[in-house]
């Protein structure tokens, strides 16, 4: 059986039917990593022994009647900022090459307790910000749709591993778009849940009040299954919210009939760098949603530039506070892009930072006001397809092609969903929901997945 295209749910069905074992799933995935990763650099560490131990344990449990749920026996991988007990966690940085945590991050522990099979640790931009770079201890991950193109960051290895069909789900983190951006540029689903929905404990911070943990996956259902495992209150994470977690798969197939959807068109339509194919993809998606029974209307939000400014100031200030001591004493141990971005945090004054927090309040209120009239928003994830490595873009500049940071600033759940190809590279849309209403985001994302026909688009093919 070729297992590379089995969804998480289908793997679960095959495991319970006895037509495949967790060990076979793990060995197949490890073989794909061995064959494909040397050219793509998704993994910084493959944990083969751990994977086979996890898989055998999952098989033994099922044989003895202990079923840990939909993630039981499913291979996955972690961005290398997630602490893993006894397994090196580098943040893709020279500064943490020897870091071996004593304990798992909450996310790693939950996936393990749910019966998941850890394949390894994945490339990231350094400290989830600096990249893609060639001056770091590991090479940058490459885009499986065209390895001359970048994946977007910072969950770069996560996107590469899934788009190259090595693994069905990988964890990312999202401070300004680091889940949704790579998902958009690699033709994947990537959800940033509501701030506080998933514990960040044991994940190296980039910016405490913007950091979110979430999965990237091949389809919406994979992400819904994964978030079901991860969501929930963690009293030891100061930002964790004690909010009930619904069944994320219960409404997946309900369609969009009756939903009211707002499009903040000025966000993307007036952007200088937007590609016509991206605009066409959003308009096509809006028309399909209307045809499927949703009410879809253009809305007005505050200027995108204000969201971007608030997000960048908050991120740079908080990041510099985290890295201040190392920046003062070991600046040259950081990659050049990382040091440039972190260093700017030193130029932010107290007044700048406070104004950014005041803007955050204004912007959160504005998005909430829109979501009192609409069930969800539809907008761009990325304004362009993935750039080439030799035509770099500054993802932190005011002209960055990602449109993801507004919902880090406001904390709303947001998901990137692929809708087509432009010149052989994926284009996507972004779905934004009310706080803690990931269920509607999944429901709408699933409808878009069906309406766009994305599931019939052939992914890049690799030997092995």
């Amino acid at each position: 059986m070729d297992t590379q295209d089995l969804s998480i749910a289908e793997m679960g069905r095959q495991l319970r039917a006895g037509s495949v074992t967790a060990e076979q799933l793990a060995r197949d995935a490890l073989a794909r990593v061995a064959a494909r990763d040397p050219a793509l650099h998704a993994f910084v560490l493959v944990t083969e022994q751990r994977a086979l131990e996890d898989a055998r344990r999952a098989d033994d449990a099922l044989k003895s009647g202990r079923d840990l749920g939909p993630f039981h026996g499913i291979p996955y991988a972690l961005k290398d900022i997630y602490d893993t007990a006894g397994i090196r966690t580098t943040c893709h940085s020279k500064l943490r090459l020897d870091n071996v945590p004593d304990a798992d991050s909450v996310v790693a522990a939950k996936l393990s307790a749910a019966g998941g099979v850890l394949l390894g640790k994945l490339a990231t931009h350094e400290f989830a910000l600096g990249g893609p770079s060639f001056d770091l201890p590991f090479p940058p991950a490459r885009n499986p749709w065209n390895p001359e193109h970048i994946t977007g960051g910072s969950s770069s290895g996560s996107a590469t591993a899934i788009a190259a069909r090595m693994v069905r789900m990988a964890m990312g983190s999202d401070t300004g778009g680091s889940i949704r951006g790579p998902a958009a540029w690699c033709g994947l689903v990537g959800i940033k849940p509501t701030y506080g929905r998933v514990s960040r404990r044991g994940v190296f911070p980039l910016s405490w009040t913007l950091d979110h943990c979430g999965p990237l996956s091949r389809n919406v259902e994979d992400s819904a299954i994964t978030l079901q495992v991860l969501a929930g209150h963690d009293p030891q994470d100061p930002a964790s919210a004690n909010v009930p977690v619904p069944d994320y798969r219960a409404g997946l197939e309900r369609g969009v009939g009756g939903l009211r959807i707002g499009i903040p068109r000025a966000f993307f339509a007036t952007a200088k760098v937007v590609q016509p194919e991206v605009l066409a993809g959003i308009d096509r998606t809006a028309a399909q949603l209307r045809e499927a029974g949703a009410t879809v209307e253009d809305i007005t939000l505050p200027d995108y530039a204000l969201f971007a400014a608030a997000g960048r100031v908050i991120m740079m200030a908080e990041a510099f506070a985290i890295h201040e001591a190392d920046m003062q004493t070991r600046l040259l141990d950081y990659g050049e892009i990382t040091a440039t971005r972190f260093g700017l945090g030193a130029a932010i004054t107290a007044a700048d930072f406070i104004h950014a927090l005041r803007a955050r309040r204004e912007l959160s209120d504005a998005v909430n006001a829109s979501l009192s009239r609409y069930d969800a928003l539809l907008t761009a994830s990325a304004l362009t397809t993935a750039p080439r490595f030799d035509q770099p873009v500054d993802s932190m500049s005011s002209a960055a092609p990602m449109q993801t940071i507004p919902f880090n600033v406001t904390g709303h759940p947001a998901m990137s969903v692929p809708v087509g190809l432009a010149k052989g590279l994926p284009i996507s849309v972004q779905v934004v929901g009310r706080p803690f209403d990931e269920a509607t985001v999944f429901r709408m994302g699933r409808a878009i997945e069906l309406l766009s026909g994305w599931e019939s688009v052939a992914l890049p093919n690799f030997p092995g």
């Binding site: 971007a308 400014a309 104004h355 005041r358 959160s364 979501l371 500049s397 005011s398 509607t440």
Partner: protein
């Protein structure tokens, strides 16, 4: 926030801020950082002069209930 200064004044401001933060920026990296600083400064300017005294910052987040759900 003052208007964006002339390039040499901007560079002097940047150098002062880096010194104040205890950062020694190598010459080879200074130009890229200065360009990024100029862009950041323009973004920061958007945030100034926008709010009156009663406009408080969000402490962490402001998750006001939205809609009827």
């Amino acid at each position: 926030m003052p208007e964006t200064p002339a390039p040499d004044e901007l560079a002097a401001e940047f150098d002062m801020l880096m010194r104040r933060a205890g950062l020694s920026i190598p010459d080879a990296r200074r130009s890229a950082m200065l360009t990024a600083y100029a862009d950041l400064r323009e973004q920061i300017a958007l945030l100034h002069g926008r709010y009156g005294a009663v406009h408080e910052p969000s402490n962490v987040f402001r998750m006001t209930p939205a809609g009827d759900k």
